[in-house]
């Protein structure tokens, strides 16, 4: 599903160039649930941005579902993001003045889906994350866990190939975190490929594979005995 070879990325900081990713080789097969771990500055967010086509690598190749991701203009990049990827952010990134269901429907608008289909589908995903009763509520009327559920429903709405989650439990308490991870595991069990960036050990151990990043290179990439989040709830 994801295939990257010898990926390099550096940023200009003043006059100096900061080499963040120093040759990453990495692949993810369909249906995997992978966590990328590392301390801050390890390059894990940069890697996720490149995987999410929000940023571009300086060197190396990236294939997403067999499609080469290279030198895309913003229009095609937007199209790929819409079709291939679903984002889940630490700070939820919901649009404040839109109701839960309208937030979920947003990626579908950019697919050009008609209103009726869109609303039906958004409602189905809200049901899936257990928030059907909250469809008409604005984000500021929801708890942190509920907001993240809306964000997950939104990420799923366009039926992407890969879900990318950036510290998705970073703003949540432990109990809520585990509930969210339970939801993520459930979605993965249905066959969705999911990448989770985290620096929390317990969250990482709820995935099936842990990739450890340090100073821009992968120092460890191993399968993990998945801990079911439900046991901790």
């Amino acid at each position: 599903m994801i295939e990257i070879k010898d990926l390099h990325k550096s940023y200009k900081v003043g006059k100096n160039s900061l080499h963040v990713l120093k040759g990453i080789n990495f692949s993810v097969k369909e249906g995997e649930l992978v966590s990328i771990m590392g301390s801050s500055g390890s390059g894990k967010s940069t890697l996720l941005n490149i995987l999410g086509i929000l940023d571009e690598a300086d060197q190396g190749t990236y294939h997403l579902d067999g499609v080469p991701i290279k030198n895309l203009n913003e229009k095609i990049a937007a199209n790929y993001r819409n079709k291939f990827l679903g984002f889940i952010f630490q700070s939820f990134n919901l649009i404040n003045y839109k109701s839960a269901i309208d937030n979920v429907a947003l990626p579908l608008i950019y697919q050009g889906m008609g209103r009726k289909d869109r609303m039906e589908r958004s409602m189905a995903y809200l049901e899936k994350v257990g928030l059907a009763d909250w469809a008409k509520h604005k984000p500021n009327e929801l708890s942190g866990g509920q907001k993240q559920r809306v964000a997950i429903a939104r990420a799923l709405a366009s039926d992407p190939k890969v879900l990318l989650a950036d510290e998705l439990t970073g703003a949540l308490d432990t109990k809520t975190s585990y509930e969210i991870m339970d939801l993520i595991q459930g979605i993965n069990d249905e066959g969705k490929t999911i990448l989770v960036v985290t620096h929390e050990e317990d969250i990482a151990h709820m995935t099936k594979r842990i990739v450890n990043l340090k100073d821009g290179i992968i120092i460890d990439d191993s399968m993990n005995e998945q801990v079911k989040a439900i046991q901790n709830v």
């Binding site: 941005n49 999410g52 929000l54 940023d55 913003e74 229009k75 937007a78 199209n79 993001r81 819409n82 079709k83 984002f87 952010f89 990134n93 919901l94 649009i95 003045y97 839109k98 947003l106 990626p107 608008i109 950019y110 697919q111 209103r115 939104r154 366009s158």
Partner: protein
């Protein structure tokens, strides 16, 4: 993508930011309001000036004389040039066929008129039959002085509407006798003049009578002529200039007046003064448009500023949208849609306010120089089109800025 969703989003953001939208609208409303009111006043000035010119025939040439100021051919300055009947006859024969109507005029200075108990001081002029056309006067009742009156030295008088109102009140003045410097004159007509009360407080008697009764001999005070109308203003102007020059030369030669002397004999063409006024009008019009557009521009810059702030404030949202698959064009459309909507609506409000003001206040304003300020349909449409374009311009640069932000930078924005 110009669908219900886009409209919903525009309404969402507007209702979420009522104060900001309100303040933006005010500047546009004010801009268009000022523009339209100025244009209305400009139109009013034009109407007013046109009205001034309607008070006399618009292609009128008048000849007045005065005192010489320059010595010439051995003659001292300070000599009064007295026009005579012969001058009029000579001018008529020298310019045969050039004039449509012509009259000379003699002014009686002591204009005390009495009728019974009522009396008043009015301007009394001895004139010929064509004078009616020269003054653009129209008869309210009775008739104007004619050739027969002139030939038979009739003691007839034609009075202005104001004079009739003053002396006769409700009574019909036709056939009544009034005393003019103690001499009885029979009222044969009442006239009205587009020049208003000032020109309607005159009385006219036959020129020949005035010269005889008031002992003026052959003297006349002035002469006036009209030339036939031309459809082309410039042609008419050229023709009238030519006649003015001819007349000036003829009279100056006859009375031995220096060519440099401008006050002894003056020949004026109303067309020339009309042209000056129309030129002035054009300048004023350009000025008003300039001021109006500048005001509007200030409003547009305001909108542009606000849109820039909106885009900046919504940077994160734009990032989210881009991450979810929004194309740059859809961001541009989103911002443009909002800015055009805001400018168009507030511009429309400003236009309506200005029109209401002009409509209600316009007819009340009727001074000598401003009359019935109004705005034509074309002007209204023009300002609306300017608005839409302005809204698009005001929105474009902020929108473009929003479109080119990299999603990763936009998402990082707090």
């Amino acid at each position: 993508m110009f669908s219900i969703e886009r409209w919903q989003e525009v309404f969402d953001t507007i209702s979420k930011n009522k104060l900001r939208t309100f303040l933006t609208s005010i500047s546009v409303i004010f801009g268009i309001f000022i523009l339209v009111v100025l244009l209305g006043v400009g139109e009013g000035m034009k109407n007013g000036i046109e009205k001034q010119f309607q008070s006399d025939a618009e292609n009128k040439i008048s000849v007045y004389t005065g005192v010489t100021t320059v010595g010439y051919k051995g003659l001292n300055p300070g000599r009064y040039i007295q026009l005579k009947n012969e001058d009029f006859d000579y001018t008529m024969s020298a310019n045969a066929g050039n004039f449509e109507s012509a009259s000379s005029m003699y002014r009686i200075w002591s204009g005390l008129i009495t009728y019974g108990e009522e009396s008043g001081s009015y301007r009394v002029e001895g004139v010929m039959s064509d004078y009616q056309a020269l003054e653009s006067a129209s008869m309210v009742s009775g008739r104007f002085i004619n050739l027969t009156d002139q030939k038979q030295y009739e003691k007839y008088v034609v009075i202005g509407q104001k004079v009739a109102d003053d002396l006769f009140d409700e009574k019909d003045p036709i056939g009544e006798y009034i005393k003019l410097s103690k001499i009885n004159f029979k009222v044969i007509g009442v006239f009205s003049d587009p020049g208003g009360e000032r020109e309607e407080s005159r009385v006219y008697i036959p020129l020949s009578t005035s010269q005889k009764v008031f002992g003026a001999g052959n003297d006349i005070r002035s002469m006036a002529f009209t030339i036939p109308k031309r459809t082309n203003f410039d042609d008419a102007l050229r023709e009238s200039e030519m006649i003015v020059n001819d007349l000036t030369n003829q009279l100056k030669t006859k009375y031995k007046v220096s060519p440099e002397d401008t006050s002894a004999i003056s020949v004026n063409s109303s067309l020339e003064s009309a042209k000056q006024f129309y030129d002035l009008m054009d300048v004023i019009k350009v000025f008003f448009w300039g001021v109006g557009i500048a005001t509007l521009l200030a409003g547009i810059v305001g909108v542009s500023n606000i849109m820039l702030i909106i885009v900046k404030e919504r940077t994160k949202e734009i990032g989210i949208r881009k991450a979810l698959g929004a194309k740059p064009m859809s961001i541009v459309a989103m911002v443009l849609h909002e800015s055009i909507f805001v400018t168009a609506i507030s511009g429309f409000v400003g236009l309506i306010l200005a029109l209401v003001l002009l409509e209600n206040l316009g007819p009340l304003i009727d001074s000598e120089f401003i009359s019935n300020p109004e705005v034509s349909f074309n002007v209204a449409i023009t300002t609306l089109i300017i608005l839409i374009i302005a809204g698009a311009l005001a929105g474009f640069f902020p929108a473009y800025r929003g479109a080119i932000i990299k999603p990763i930078d936009a998402l990082r924005d707090e």
